[in-house]
Amino acid sequence: MKKLDKELRVMLVDGLGGPMSRRGFIKRAGAAGLLLGASGFIAACGDKTTTTAAGGGTQEMSKELFFYNWSDYIDEDTLPNFETEFGTKVVYDNYSSNDTLLAKLQSGATGYDIIVPTDYMITTMLGLDLIQEIDLDNIPNVANLYPRFREAPFDPGNKYSIPWQWGTTGIGYNSAKVPDFKPSWEMLWDENYSGKITMMNEIRDVFAVALFRLGYSPNTRDTAQIEEAKQMLIEQKPLLKHYTSDTYIDELASEDSWLSHGWSGDVFQAQLENEAVMYAVPEEGSLTWVDSMCIPKDAPNKYTAEVFMNYICDPEVAAAISNYVYYASPNEKAEEFILPEILDDPQIYPPQEVMDKLMFLEELGADTELYNTAYQELRAS
């Protein structure tokens, strides 16, 4: 049923010019319209309910909860069920890149109770003092999570974040057009597929590919290693169709791209439209990421946000989300409710030997500049 729903949705959305990505379509709209978007917050702020004071310890449910999440990233029933159970109306808004989310928070646009940044972005937001500590007493269901998400390097002990969904970065490929595919980053440098290869338009992600291929850490601060990676990426440039973080879903589906560097769930969306599309995590190692719920510093309804987080950590609720969006759940107890086709899919739940080679991107603080500069030189070359 759910799968059918999703296919229908993809078809409908495709009619508008391409499938939506969790991190996709409105990215540019968001970038172009930061100001416009901010108006939504003003409205949100005006509606603040009186039951909880900002930052106060009120243990009372508010009338409304302002939830800001990635687009296309929730089961259709999750919010209605929560509303029925708790009598709180959820005001749900979407974004499609961490950068948009951060820019909005930084520009002072607040009023949201829950946001869902990605791992490294949590470090950034903590550094910028944009999120606040969570009261885990209100979230007993956090015990349902896998240990590795309870002790994640960016937030050990879930002091600031409760994981939502996780996935990997890898290669989406067309198994019919690329019969000699092997799970290696080398494929993205294969001259036989010149013009049919896409790379993401993400600074750190692009460098991670070259760094993994060279056997270095994707979080290196070594300028010589970054320079070596840059040269490798410059060599790759003539083979590329373009750099894109969203349209590759559509391009994989329409066979305009045969080899795309991309996020797991995005490739699965292309798979729904074109059965020849497959996903692999290269054996040199790759990135893993987890999007986690956080509470902004001046969230009006902190307690309600924590109740909502607890609700999401309920095994059945968590499973329903995975069953709908086809990403892996950080919830261990949810396994028994997740569709076998998802749980047994090595593309979604990778085997242990792959898991061992997955790394998180780390926020490098001032050294981020090394990557920014190198990426500019790559793109301008």
Partner: protein, 313 residues
């Protein structure tokens, strides 16, 4: 160049511009004229306030940012240093800036080449269907620019409309690489900005005194010669307005090269966008924006001076 037009416009606008009859409206107008300075200020106030709040103030903020630097987590540290400007004029961006000007220039020339005949046709031969034609020119604006640009992907991609038709007609065997090329970016810019060229050209041609063209013909000028020596010089204000309205946003556009471009079509707008979003170096992005604005302002100044400021009046 501003004498009142003698055809078309006259009947509609006569009661307002001429104070011949002594109706209450014209009396009110002449009374207003007495206080023209105060009235002008009053009329300007909302716009000035708007411009101050939403143009001058944000520009001021960006100017302040541009002298700062990037904090550890991508925040702006205020200061007073020219480092960002030195980086903005670093040689690595030269090819990117030249490419932006080249693409925008070609797109401007193409919109002029297509927009002029179109505006001329509507203004001179539109007759009573003028407003329908004008609405047709503006219809694309009813759809988001993003959606319209996405639809070019559907048209140009390898299994897209163009390639499918060409292959079906046996004109080509393998799909052409139309998308993600300089061609597709220039096409996208041209398509997107065509109305910005057509409308000012139309406004200019529509108020053109047609009897001057007839006089040129009567005096023995060929059609082409009359076009070159009478019509086009008289429509220079429209040409200037149109080229500026197309060229300036096209130089800084980032959506079109992002969606339709390839690895080698990076434009300066993309670079600036990248600084504000993924690189999170707002100070550098601000300096790049100001540098681009400075270059454009100097260019516009020289251009308008060359073509003749008095024509803009």
């Amino acid at each position: 160049m501003t004498k009142p037009a003698d055809t078309g416009m006259t009947e509609a606008s006569a009661p307002v511009i001429l104070g011949q009859n002594s109706g209450p409206l014209s009396r009110a107008i002449s009374r207003l004229r007495g206080h023209s300075f105060a009235v002008a200020n009053l009329l300007m106030a909302p716009t000035m306030l708007w411009l101050l709040l939403f143009l001058a103030l944000p520009l001021g903020v960006i100017l302040v940012y541009s002298f700062g630097s990037r904090g550890t987590y991508g925040d702006v540290i205020y200061g007073f240093a020219f480092d960002n400007y030195l980086r903005a004029f670093s040689p690595i961006w030269l090819p990117v800036i030249l490419r932006s000007f080249l693409f925008a220039g070609i797109a401007t020339a193409l919109t002029l080449a297509m927009g002029y005949p179109l505006a001329y046709f509507i203004a001179i031969y539109g007759g009573r269907r003028k407003s329908i034609y004008l609405i047709l020119v503006m219809v694309p604006f009813w759809t988001s620019y993003l959606i319209r640009t996405y639809s070019w992907i559907v048209i140009l991609r390898s299994q897209g409309v163009v390639n499918t038709i060409l292959q079906w007609a046996n004109i080509i065997d393998n799909p052409l690489d139309l998308l993600n090329t300089p061609f597709s970016v220039i096409l996208g810019l041209t398509y997107g900005f065509l109305p910005f060229m057509t409308l000012p050209l139309y406004a200019s041609l529509e108020k053109l005194d047609k009897s001057l063209i007839e006089a040129a013909w009567d005096l023995g000028a060929s059609r082409i010669w009359a076009l070159l020596t009478v019509t086009i010089p008289l429509s220079i204000p429209g040409i200037i307005a149109g080229t500026l309205l197309v060229f300036i946003p096209a130089v800084g556009d980032f959506v079109t090269p992002d969606l339709l471009g390839g690895p080698d079509t990076l434009m300066i707008g993309n670079v600036i966008q990248q600084q504000f979003l993924s690189a999170r170096d707002w100070a550098y992005g601000s300096a790049l924006s100001f540098s681009l604005m400075a270059i454009l302002l100097i260019g516009i100044f020289l251009y308008v001076r060359k073509v003749g400021t008095e024509n803009l009046a």
